[in-house]
Structure formats: structure tokens, C-alpha cells
């Protein structure tokens, strides 16, 4: 199932949980460089993006404890 994933970069604290669970789910390894979500954090400001490989599964949002990622309930596909 695919979801719309809304991002709220102001809430991001750079914990990288989203990248860790993404790489673990798809690549079976914890590796932030293999994640399909990209977090670029400089001096407390985050940019959040997704690679072309992202399937919009929403697992990143499930593991975000800060509300920086939100999985919209309605499936887009």
C-alpha cells in the first residue's frame, strides 16, 4: 500500500530513525546511506526528501516519534 507522506522539517531533530528503519526494511541492513528517505540536517535545520526508489510505504512515518513525518491514512494507490 502506498501513502502520502507529509513532511514537517521544523519538527525534525536529526535522530535518523526514519533512515534506519527504511534501510532495514528494504535492504535488511541498518545503513542511512541505503535509505530511500534523505535527511540533510545543518545547524538544527532539516531538509527532508525521498529518492526515486521510495515506494511511499510510510514505514518512516510509523517510526518518527517527533511528528516530522506523517502518513496520510488514505491510500494514494
Amino acid at each position: 500500500m502506498k501513502f502520502e507522506i507529509r513532511t514537517y522539517p521544523m519538527r525534525c531533530v536529526g535522530c535518523l530513525n526514519c533512515q534506519l528503519i527504511c534501510s532495514f526494511s528494504f535492504e535488511k541492513v541498518f545503513n542511512v546511506f541505503k535509505a530511500r528517505i534523505m535527511i540533510d540536517r545543518v545547524d538544527g535545520n532539516s531538509k527532508i526528501g525521498f529518492t526515486d526508489k521510495c515506494t511511499s510505504c510510510g514505514i518512516c512515518a510509523d517510526y518518527c516519534l517527533y511528528g516530522a513525518l506523517e502518513k496520510v491514512e488514505e491510500a494514494i494507490e
Binding site: V13, C15, L16, L20, V29, F30, N31, L65
Partner: protein, 630 residues
């Protein structure tokens, strides 16, 4: 080694010769000492030769990250260091916030690094997967710990793990620390100076290898359950908004919100207690300051130096930038002021215009200490050395000191605390000297007078055996619980955390019972373990570090309480029934040794205990240098 969780190797770097050697992590070593603090302990015992000068090339900097670091186990980014400390000559470990450094170290392929020697010029160590390089640090030498991080970010981009030192480490100030990405303090007791003595300004890491776990299904079940529990934690939302102040409301929350710029988290942390603050008023208006926690920027207020947020935050920034241990530095300045007041140090020795507890004077003195200028050079050697020079006739204003460092929490300590808990007791008995290490794992931490049943429940979660609980809850001298006996388990529980790599904060470790830790370790590594075995491994590692300190000459005489704790003002026991007298405190010390299976007379491990823990070789090694265990 193919076990999950581990990166699989130990990196040895000799800065004198330039030799870089990668050693496979032995699976027996991993099973026996788990990782992090545990394997650091074994490496330290094996590699740091007794009697060496802590600031000589022979000393080792050992840094490790446990098997959970690099996974998404909540708050599993912790790194640990171990070295011979310049402040007192103890073999001392330290757990620090990992930020990005821990996972980048592991992802580069290294569970531990061991650095020895002395470079012939300022250098930093670069660990980018198999690309390990000793690089010229000329451009960052002389800069603050934070500026160094910024410079390395601009050179290498992010994400990047960075451990760096400030000017105080370069100048061998004996209470200088290392900092993880500006906000994680590591190495109370002078790790910064050990870096400096090796001409090592920083270590940077970026790894792309990834960390696997052994049983993914079992792992997910445990970790998902943890996430669900954390989502339901009532303190979570408040922590996100107010950080550590949510649990320790040292200033009004609205004042904090005015200063808050952003929160920072170590990798995988659900709390994000690191801070970026911005000064909004006064002469430092607009200045942005990083801190390990907002509450830690208030030290200058606590010392009465200022009542202005901008001034106290700026001074905290100075301390962190120089890489100074803030309590040691401020307490030494307070002591120097007393020496002057009592005519024991002349104006000429001190240098005009003396020490005033106001912002500009303190800022100037911090600079003098960090650069070893004038009387700052004397203070830079720490309390141990200062007291050798000025320790006579100071009864009236004696520092609250143990093993050459400030026992910073207690009835007459800088952080005033009127209960005698494992935190205060631990200040005296830690082999390295006073540190916060046991507090986070103790049920007494941040609580007051909890019911015995509640404490017992927490001890169950920590994995404290029932027979030990019976001893802990046997009343003594009017005290309903025995803090001395409890200290053993508080320490052991904390060091399980340091072995695995999760955070030591009470707000985090409340989720990790001994059983949860064992289940996670089994799932991650594939090495099946029980909670009891984990605690035993922690006890083994602790005893090994103790043995390393016995070799350095430490024994019962060093595990002393500050005399000032037994003056007019006294601690109360945890249930506030009785005042803690000197005899009672030392009675609890006897009980601590007894609970640990150590000799009460000498305060060192017994042969039986060492044999029980599989540390027979400690007895044989000791005999070779004329030490006999009782």
C-alpha cells in the same frame, strides 16, 4: 566474526609510527565482555601498562561502541572511552553521547579503536570505511572544540561523526574533556589532555558498511514493542518541547522557550535532549550556542557569577569551546579565590586583578586555565596537584573532593543534594573518581522517598537477585535500605547499558529492563544470553577495571567521602529518618565491598571473586608485580 550487531573489528593506530592495524573482533571476547565498556575494559587492562605517565605516548585512548549502536534500538548511539586519566592516574572510563560518531564508527567497520603514540605534528584521524588516514590538523589546532567540528563539516560534508578537543586539551589541562559533535561530553578526568598529549585534535568517521542483526523477525518484535511503549510515555511530549528541563525544571519553561532555537538528537533517540540555544538579550544577543542540555548552561548562575541567561549561556559556551569540565574549572576558581582571601596566595602569584566571580573575570580566567597562563597554569593541573601545593590549613574552605576531582553532588557539593543515595555514595567509590555513572540506573535517581515496594519492583527490572534485595532492604542504623549494597547493582546495571550502547539517561533506561536487554542482545547478535549472564558480564568488566586500578595503587584509602559531608549539615537517608554520620557512611562502604565480594579491609576484589568471574589471570598478573589479592 559474523554475529549481528558487531562491526567485526578493532582498529589499532600508532600515531608515533603511523602504523594502522585492523584486528578481527574475536567472538569469545565479544561473548565474554559484550562490547562498549566491557571490551574497552579488557583492552585497557591488557594494553595500558601499569605505572605509565597518562600523558606519555604509552597511554592508550580506547573508544568503543556496543553491539546495539547502529541499529534502530531507541537511543542506542552511546560511545565509551577508556584511558589512564591525567587528573588522578586512575584507569577511567566514560560513557558519552554518541550523536553521529557511534554509528559512523560502527558503519566504518570498527567496534573499537585503540590509539597510542604521539604524532610529530597536530593531526586528526579519519575513518571512512577502509580509508583510514592520519591527517594534518594544522588548520584546526588552536581552535575550540565546536569550531573544529564546523571546520571538519565544511571540509567533508555531513553526515559526519566527530570527536574533538578544545584548547584546554591541546594544552594538557588535566580536567579537559573530549566532545562528540560539540554536545556530547566524554572523558571527565582529562581525556582531552590525553588527546592533546598525542597531538590528536579530532577523530572523524563516516561509514557505509551497514549493521545487520542476526534474527530480524525476533528483533522487530522486540523493537516494535519498545517503540509502542515509548509512544505512550507521558513524558515524551514534554521532553520534545522542553528537553531535559521537562524532568529537571531548573528555570521557568517560558524562559527556556525564549532561548530555544532547535533540539538535537543522538541517532535513534526518542527524547532529543541536546540543544541549540540563541541568546536574545544583552551584549551577546544573537549568539548561537550548542549544549548537552539547557540545564548544563546554568552553572555560572549556580555559582552566583551572574543571574542573566545570556551571560551564563555565553560562559557555558566558553567552557565547552575550550573543552573544560565546567564544575572542575569553576570549583578550582572558587578555591583559588579562597586561597587569596586567606592570604595563602599572593596578589603577585595570582596576577592582577585577582579572581572576581563576575562574568568578565571568569571568562578571562577560563581562558588562562585553557592556555595555562599565569596562575591558570597551576589550576590547570586540577585539584590533586593544587592540594599538594596548597592543602595545608584549608579546613575552613576545603574543596569537596575525592580522588582529585570534585564530588559534585552532595550536601556541601556544588549541586546541593540532601539525600544520601547511590548517586552521592557513588561519588566516593567509583574507581575513576566522582562521576554520574550509577545515577541513571538507580531507582533513587530523581525520586524521593519512593515506597519500598516500588524500589523493589525497579530492582527486579534491573535484574537484582532476590537474596541481594533482602540484604538491601535489611534496616541498618535506622536506614530502611542499604545504599552501599544497592550501589553494586546500580553500577552493574549502568555498565550493562554502556556495554550494549544505549543511553544512560533515566528517561531512556526506564524502558530497558534486564530481560529486555537480554532479549534484544540475543536477537541482535545471535548469542543467546540471559539477563543474569548480562549482569555477570558487567560485573566481570567492572572488576577488571578495578583490577587495573589496583595495579595503579588504588585501594580502600582512596574510596573516601569528602570531610565536608559530615559537618553541621548532614545528608539524610533516602527515607529521611536519620542523619548520615561519618561512621554510618563508612559502614555502608564496608557493605558495598561485602556485596561486591571484595575484601573489606583493603577494598579490593578477593581471589574468590576474581576466579568466579573467570579473571584468574588477574591474580597471576598481580603476583608478578608483587600484588597479592586477599
Amino acid at each position: 566474526m559474523t554475529a549481528g550487531g558487531y562491526a567485526g573489528s578493532i582498529l589499532h593506530v600508532n600515531l608515533s609510527t603511523g602504523e594502522i592495524r585492523k584486528e578481527p573482533l574475536d567472538s569469545d571476547l565479544a561473548r565474554t565482555f559484550i562490547g562498549g565498556f566491557g571490551i574497552n575494559a579488557k583492552l585497557g587492562y591488557d594494553l595500558i601498562k601499569p605505572g605509565i605517565d597518562p600523558l606519555s605516548p604509552e597511554n592508550k585512548i580506547i573508544i568503543g561502541a556496543g553491539p546495539f549502536v547502529g541499529t534502530n534500538i531507541p537511543a542506542s548511539a552511546r560511545v565509551c572511552s577508556l584511558t589512564k586519566l591525567p587528573v588522578n592516574g586512575a584507569i577511567g572510563w566514560s560513557g558519552g553521547a554518541g550523536m553521529n560518531f557511534g554509528i559512523m564508527l560502527k558503519n566504518s567497520g570498527y567496534d573499537h579503536i585503540v590509539i597510542e603514540g604521539r604524532a610529530d605534528r597536530p593531526v586528526y584521524l579519519k575513518l571512512f570505511d577502509d580509508d583510514v588516514e592520519i591527517c594534518d590538523a594544522g588548520a584546526v589546532w588552536g581552535k575550540g572544540a565546536g569550531e573544529t567540528v564546523d571546520e571538519l563539516y565544511s571540509r567533508y560534508g555531513r553526515p559526519l561523526g566527530v570527536v574533538s578537543i578544545g584548547q584546554s586539551g591541546e594544552n594538557l589541562v588535566k580536567f579537559s574533556m573530549a566532545f562528540v559533535e560539540r554536545v556530547g561530553t566524554m572523558g571527565r578526568g582529562g581525556l582531552g589532555a590525553v588527546f592533546g598529549s598525542k597531538n590528536l585534535k579530532a577523530i572523524i568517521s563516516r561509514g557505509t558498511k551497514g549493521i545487520k542483526v542476526s534474527d530480524r523477525k525476533r528483533y522487530r518484535e522486540s523493537v516494535d514493542h519498545l517503540y509502542e511503549r515509548m509512544k505512550g510515555y507521558p513524558g515524551l511530549k514534554g521532553a520534545h518541547k522542553y528537553g531535559f528541563l521537562n524532568f529537571m525544571p531548573a528555570v521557568p519553561k517560558e524562559d527556556y522557550l525564549e532561548l530555544k532555537k532547535a533540539r538535537l538528537a543522538c541517532v535513534s533517540c526518542p527524547i532529543a535532549d541536546k540543544e541549540i540555544l540563541q541568546i536574545k538579550k544583552g551584549r551577546f544577543r544573537g549568539r548561537t550556542v550548542y549544549s548537552s542540555a539547557a540545564v548544563n548552561t546554568l552553572a555560572s548562575m549556580m555559582y552566583g557569577i551572574t543571574d542573566d541567561y545570556g551571560e551564563t549561556i555565553k560562559l557555558a559556551d566558553d567552557l565547552d569551546s575550550y573543552g573544560l569540565d565546567q564544575i572542575e574549572a569553576l570549583e578550582l576558581l572558587k578555591f583559588a579565590g579562597e586561597l587569596y582571601k586567606h592570604g595563602m596566595v599572593t596578589e603577585k602569584e595570582l596576577g592582577a586583578p585577582g579572581i572576581k566571580f563576575e562574568p568578565d573575570s571568569i571568562a578571562e580566567w577560563l581562558r588562562k586555565i585553557a592556555h595555562r597562563e599565569g596562575f591558570g597554569d597551576v589550576l590547570a593541573d586540577g585539584f590533586g596537584e593544587v592540594l599538594k601545593k596548597y592543602g595545608e590549613g584549608i579546613e575552613e574552605f576545603a574543596p569537596v573532593e575525592v580522588k582529585g576531582m570534585v564530588a559534585y553532588q552532595g550536601i556541601t557539593s556544588p549541586i546541593k543534594s540532601d539525600l544520601f543515595t547511590t548517586f552521592e555514595f557513588g561519588m566516593a567509590v567509583h574507581p575513576k573518581g566522582p562521576c554520574a555513572a550509577p545515577g541513571g540506573s538507580s531507582p533513587l535517581y530523581f525520586t524521593r522517598g519512593r515506597a519500598i515496594d516500588w524500589v523493589a519492583g525497579h530492582l527486579d527490572r534491573m535484574g537484582v537477585p532476590k537474596d541481594a534485595q533482602e540484604r538491601i532492604f535489611t534496616p541498618k542504623d535506622g536506614m530502611l535500605l542499604n545504599v552501599g549494597r544497592m550501589e553494586k547493582y546500580s553500577q552493574q546495571s549502568l555498565f550493562v547499558i554502556d556495554m550494549l550502547g544505549t543511553c544512560g539517561r533515566g528517561q531512556i533506561n526506564r524502558f530497558y529492563s534486564n530481560k529486555v536487554q537480554a532479549e534484544l542482545y540475543s536477537a541482535v547478535t545471535g548469542f543467546e544470553i540471559s539477563g543474569e549472564e548480562l549482569m555477570k558480564a558487567s560485573e566481570r568488566a567492572f572488576n577488571l577495571v578495578k583490577a587495573a586500578n589496583v595495579r595503579e595503587g588504588f585501594d580502600r584509602k582512596d574510596d573516601s567521602f569528602p570531610e565536608g559531608w559530615f559537618g553541621e549539615e548532614k545528608h539524610k537517608d533516602y527515607y529521611e529518618n536519620v542523619d548520615i554520620t561519618k561512621d554510618m557512611a563508612y559502614g555502608l562502604l564496608d557493605d558495598y565491598y561485602d556485596e561486591r565480594g571484595w575484601d573489606i579491609k583493603t577494598g579490593i576484589p578477593s581471589k574468590d571473586k576474581l576466579i568466579e568471574l573467570g579473571l584468574d589471570y588477574v591474580i597471576r598478573d598481580a603476583e608478578k608485580i608483587g600484588i597479592e589479592y586477599p
